[in-house]
Amino acid sequence: MSAALRTDTGAAHAAILGVGAYRPSRLVPNSEVVDAIDSSDEWIQQRSGIRTRRFATDDETIVSMSVAASQQALDAAGIDARQIDCVVVATVSHLLQTPAAATMIAHELGTEQAAAFDISAACAGFCHGVALANDMVRGGSAGYVLVIGVERLSDITDPTDRGTAFIFADGAGAVVIGPSEEPRIGPVVWGSDGEHYDHIRTADWRDVLASEKPSMPCLTMKGNEVFRWASFTMAKTAQQALDRAGITVDELDVFVPHQANNRITDAMARSLKLPESVRIARDIVDAGNTSAASVPMALRRMIDDGDARSGDKALLIAFGAGLAYAAQVVVVP
């Protein structure tokens, strides 16, 4: 009875092999959101950098957007859905408590009953997923992993809330992560600060249902507090991710922070002292803040625009409700 258990042996290293994104069809310019918040196009742009965003139609569901983004990532990676062993979905707007969106997405994609689950790490979810997938591939529990960030934040945003109505938007992004001969995903620097659990949140369903006029529990945010934390504390986290990967800012090619607010991106870039040569994701300008979807969507955009080229070193960082955060350096596929 003393026989040792056999264990899995994984790949030496892991890599992002393909990136995909899905942008919802309905373009929503600032002019469409200003009246309900007594604001102006100029104020929104100055405050956030956002000019337009996209809202999903009824047909553009969490599952359908994820499938479309995943298909592009699979095609880019040259991997068939049947090779996927695990589907990890980061989202806060899959409005079904259970089951996870991931199982339906895995089925729709035609995986062979891949393991599938959702993770709840809000805007930081995608970078958490990359960290998990990296460890799965190296640990041997999966050969290829699909990591998806997807949101329909328009479903849980109050159009009359001046602090959030102009920020949040919809979309999906996905990556395929698999084995690699070279290290192409650096160590994750991640954590949480639950003392500020209330900074970004939705209402408790039980409170909503007990109220006289129950309505969808929408996101609320303490903007200035979050701005301070994101702009300065997160810049330190980003620096740690560079340090852990053994990369200096001068060796970095691309910076893809969560597209929370252009002002946060500016403050982080300044704190990190990024040289001019580092290309910075600005997808927020016409995509808005898509929470878990923003990093892969922004990365796909940079690849399409030629701003992120194969072999480039990219610093990813995502942060949000929790407060939860994760960052890592990856090599662009």
């Binding site: 200035n224 507090e225 701005f227 301070r228 702009s231 300065f232």
Partner: protein, 81 residues
């Protein structure tokens, strides 16, 4: 540091963060009304000031710092403490 030295150092920070000419950052000026420093820029100014002057300016305190003079006075009080 004298009041004037603190004001001048703070003016440099405001200039760096918000691009406002340092010599217009005078004690009687309101950050939002006169200098057009919005609440996000104010957060950046506060964080830079914390570092520069070795003080802590909690989020709850920031809304009380309406003028440059308010901020300079707060820094003077808390540097001494």
């Amino acid at each position: 540091m004298s009041t004037e030295e603190i004001r001048a150092a703070l003016a440099e920070i405001v200039n760096e963060v918000a691009g406002i000419p340092a010599d217009s950052v005078q004690l009687d000026k309101s950050f939002s009304d006169d200098l057009d420093v919005d609440s996000l820029s104010m957060v950046e100014v506060v964080v830079e000031a914390e570092e520069k002057f070795g003080v802590t300016i909690p989020d709850d305190e920031v809304k009380n710092l309406k003028t440059v003079g308010d901020a300079v006075a707060y820094i003077e009080r808390n540097r001494a403490a």
